[in-house]
Amino acid sequence: MPKSETVKEALAKKGAYGQDLDLDHYDEEANETIKVDDLQNSDFKSYMENVGIVADEIERSGTMMFIDNNPSHCSTKVQEGMEVMSVRDALKKYDGLTDYFWKAVEPTKDKYTAKTFLEDGDGYFVRVKSGYHIKYPLQTCMLLNKNKSIQHVHNVVIVEDNASLEMITGCSTSHHANDALHVGVSEIYIGDNSSLTFSMIHSWGKSTGVRPRTGTIVGKNSHYTNNYVILNPVGSLQSFPAATLSDNASATYNTMCIAHESSDIDTGGLVYLNGRKSRAEIMSRSISMGGKMCARGRMVGNAPEAKGHLECRSIILKDGGTTLAIPELEAHIADVEMTHEAAVGKVARDQIEYLMSRGLDEDQAVSMIVKGFLSGGSINGLPEELKRELDDAIAKANVGD
């Protein structure tokens, strides 16, 4: 691990992408511990349920919740094969987690990772032991509850060999903590012949700053799915999660965003195809409702027979919004096959009029097409239950109808 002095220097280092946020703007401490024993009768229940976290925990294998910088709730229904605890507890139990702590994300990457490192950020630790397939999704919830403060959590997820897990992470802001910053460092390690589906659903405030930093290392013959959904207004969000693939490993990134007025969203996925026959798919569907939307996708082909496809599709629904699609393909050897498609524009007139000729008015027609466009992007690899929840969220999303 780097020395604190080196990391301190990185506090001045701007993020590679997105608006530079001034960490000094967030001058309130957020170290209070708020325990939530009973999720169903908690004051935070509605915030959780907005982002796919079910309070009754039916068909969930467990729940871990953070309010600001401290754990609030941790429960698991799984008798064996899975551990869920705070990272601080895991560091004690596993002697510093030397193989996993700050190995998939660099502390000196930028000011946000540096801040998390220097604050010694706590987070959730999840470990699925070799040979176990966890039936129901594990849910984690990150809630911002203190205005003008920084949540700097550091999560570690380990799925060992021949194992599988689905995770649903819901992130939200309570109404009085609109102007706060969420920094979430997540390190994900997937062993050989394993799989992890990691689905993140968000509902931030109109001024919230969001800077997640996620690194995933995927072992041989394993699969990683990363679903990222944000349909509500946010202040400034920038995220570019990266995965590194071994032989015959695969990764899928699905991103679904609506950039409302005053939202500035810059997100996507980065995959290093480092293993022979590794495969990746990066899909992004986004809509600008007057906000700024940047959809990135980047693949780096470093191994023979690697394959990848990247798709960025964006619709501008309101003037005043902007959308930028940046698909990048980089290859360092001949024997790779990578393709991309990008499309930016308005909703096609012939499609609107086709639906109008069936009796829908123009707003209904646009709304139906836009919702279809969004849910069309979520078809690949989503757990059935989450897909239903997403379709519900899309049906409720404000796209001008």
Partner: protein
């Protein structure tokens, strides 16, 4: 019977070019008229003008529907007044399921969805509208949507094109049902205007009048069977 559709000296541009150069045509309540004519003469443009698609621009003339001037009315209002259209090549609507579209466009979704098997479309309710549909599937989907909509005039753009013989039989019978569904005592109320090259659809629905369009105008009006026979024997005389 009263005039369902009346087109008066209609001039229409598309892509900066004048396509319709003064079309006059009337379809009365319960009547079926067929439109013949060589490719590019303006038949599809005429139907697009009646439906109100923005690909065309009416430069002069009038379209009256049930006595109301609809020349510049939005597409959805025309649909609500009772105009229904089967396009020859409808656009793909990605992400929108056929079943959801049907539910959104009919007052009686349950019976329409239940009817889907009669159109051999029951397995298509969760499919995206028109995406990957074959020629016959598109026509059957369009007809199921029209059945949900229950229009008073049906505009059909080449209902037989790109369809195998078995499907033509099903399509022909379903178009017949649409036109004759609310007939009372032999008196029909639903009208139609049909573009056809082969005339096959007439085996199922008959036709009261035939029109031959040439270069943006109605060149001839007559008995549809006689006109078809003449076209088969002599072509369009070009």
């Amino acid at each position: 019977m009263s005039d369902m559709l009346k087109i008066i000296d209609l001039h229409v541009q598309a892509g900066g070019r004048e396509i319709l150069k003064g079309v006059n045509l009337t379809v009365k309540e319960g009547e079926t008229s067929v439109l013949f004519g060589p490719n590019g003469c303006g038949k599809s443009t005429l139907l697009a003008s009646i439906m109100g698609y923005s690909t065309i621009e009416v430069t002069s003339g009038q379209i009256l529907f049930k006595g109301v001037d609809i020349t510049h009315m939005p597409v959805d209002e025309r649909a609500k007044m009772g105009i229904g259209m089967m396009m020859q090549r409808p656009p793909n609507i990605y992400g929108v399921k056929l079943g959801d579209l049907l539910k959104a466009t009919t007052k009686d979704p349950e019976s329409v969805i239940a009817d889907a098997d009669k159109f051999k479309m029951e397995k298509f309710m969760d499919r995206e509208v028109n995406v990957g549909f074959s020629g016959g599937e598109i026509k059957r989907s369009e007809l199921l949507q029209l059945t949900a909509q229950k229009p008073d005039i049906i505009l059909l753009d080449e209902p037989e094109s790109g369809v195998d013989l078995q499907s033509i039989d099903l399509i022909g019978r379903k178009v017949h049902d649409l036109l004759f569904s609310d007939a009372d005592g032999g008196q029909r109320h639903v009208s139609s205007l049909v573009i056809t090259h082969t005339g096959q659809i007439m085996d199922y629905i008959g036709a009261d009048y035939g029109y031959i369009m040439k270069d943006g105008v109605i060149d001839r009006v007559g008995n549809p069977m006689e006109l078809l026979k003449e076209i088969r024997e002599q072509g369009y005389g070009e």
